[in-house]
Amino acid sequence: MEEVPHDCPGADSAQAGRGASCQGCPNQRLCASGAGATPDPAIEEIKEKMKTVKHKILVLSGKGGVGKSTFSAHLAHGLAEDENTQVHQSGSGWSPVYMEDNLGVMSVGFLLSSPDDAVIWRGPKKNGMIKQFLRDVDWGEVDYLIVDTPPGTSDEHLSVVQYLAAAHIDGAVIITTPQEVSLQDVRKEINFCRKVKLPIIGVVENMSGFICPKCKKESQIFPPTTGGAELMCKDLEVPLLGRVPLDPVIGKNCDKGQSFLIDAPDSPATLAYRSIIQKIQEFCSLHQSEEENLISS
């Protein structure tokens, strides 16, 4: 999963680590030792663990500050409103912390003793933690596992995709704002998903317009100077799941650790969230039936 040279002979080939194109590749020593040919045993262990988890969704973005964590939290809240749904928003920990009977959370934050503690870790340690979150946590019977991620396409993303390789990820939801600076990064994120064969459920355009609470007129705080997510989705042939407008009540609820969907049920943002969540559920059900058909046929 590391970035490989153009003429990479393949980690499990006889030429692995020895070919001319291997020079300078960060995997060279690993491949030459033959270790590249041996898959990490954790991948199979995670596949077993994940058998009780029906759907796994990654929330990605190319860019920071677009609202991934806010969206992940509210996707979890929204899915959990159906009492029959078991939802766990992944993060880290060994035994999930339950916010409600059917909504549990794990985060590296739970492992810290002070609100000022910083997690100053390099890649390998982060990768190890991610492996543990997936393998060593007692998820139990879960309908949805939602994995929030940092922005970009680095260790965390590669590790999650790698460790869930055998367990099947339903897909990724990619968050953006309407701006070109965000879309630029999202195009890269879409390319990453295609490169690692991660299905894309769709794109959510967040912070999409603002309605003034006083005069009710709309403003574009983050103007879609190049057509916003709609045009990008059309160009790249990925679904646009919806647009969520800015609503100051969202931030207030996040700060209180509450579901904005419950606190402001009639807000245009809530309506947008509900429609997006429904599309995600439909995508997951459709792919589940396709898999079942494949198994039974």
Binding site: E2, E3, P26, G62, G64, G65, S69, P115, D116, D117, A118, V119, I120, W121, R122, G123, P124, K126, P150, P151, G152, T153, S154, D155, H157, L158, Q179, E180, V181, Q184, R187, K188, E189, I190, N191, F192, K195, F210, C212, P213, K214, C215, K217, S219, Q220, I221, F222, P223, T225, T226, L246, P248, G251, K252, C254, D255
Partner: protein, 211 residues
């Protein structure tokens, strides 16, 4: 955002030549984006490769005579942050500017960034609160879109100067998208006053003669 799309990095006898944004060569820039063949190419690198490039950006770029080197970083306290601090340590960095939004969830994360600065011996020059309210262009009502108070609270927690709040400003976001020089072209806009004031405080706090 600085209007340098599609530019390329060239080798000169002193190393990599940074990309100049203006004819007067008052601002130069280096970015991994300049090294990509296609703009939509993702940089799918693990830590060690990122660390190596950061070191190269500090040591192998022919920056020349500079008054300020400003390093933008991703969120968090990981490889990039450690690599940057290590690469710049021999050159005695002035310090870190820590940016937050007004929300408590942002303060909750950014206070950990302050711990990182303390642990790595990086002086915190001050806290900036970004996305600090939006003034409706139709009725002039100011709304706290992302809550309020986070910046000042963070500065107080850390015992560092609060440098100021920058409001949400569509003129700023639009001009960044369209490659305009915001400072030259929109001196009347809300964000301009805030940004100028913050820049002035940094200049005032900077020693005239560097060791």
């Amino acid at each position: 955002m600085l209007g340098a799309q599609g530019r390329a990095v060239h080798q000169c006898d002193r190393g990599w030549a940074p990309v100049f944004l203006d004819r007067e060569q008052s601002i130069s820039l280096m970015s991994v984006g300049f090294l990509l063949e296609k703009p939509d190419e993702a940089v799918v690198w693990r830590g060690p490769k990122k660390n190596a490039l950061i070191k190269q950006f500090v040591s192998d770029v022919a920056w020349g005579e500079l008054d300020f080197l400003v390093v933008d970083t991703p969120p968090g306290t990981s490889d990039e942050h450690m690599a940057t601090v290590e690469a710049l340590r021999p050159y005695q960095p002035l310090g870190a500017l820590v940016v937050t939004t007004p929300q408590a969830v942002s303060v909750g994360d950014v206070r950990r960034e302050l711990t990182f600065c303390r642990k790595t011996g990086l002086r915190v020059m001050g806290v900036v609160e970004n996305m600090s309210g939006f003034t409706c262009p139709h009725c002039a009502e100011c709304t706290s879109v992302f809550s309020r108070g986070g910046g000042e609270e963070l500065a107080r927690l850390a015992g560092v100067p609060f440098l100021g709040s920058v409001p949400l400003d569509p003129v700023l976001t639009r001009s960044l998208e369209e490659g305009h020089d915001f400072i030259q072209e929109f001196p009347g806009s809300p964000a301009f006053t805030a940004l100028s004031s913050i820049a002035q405080k940094i200049l005032d706090a900077t020693p005239m003669c560097l060791p």
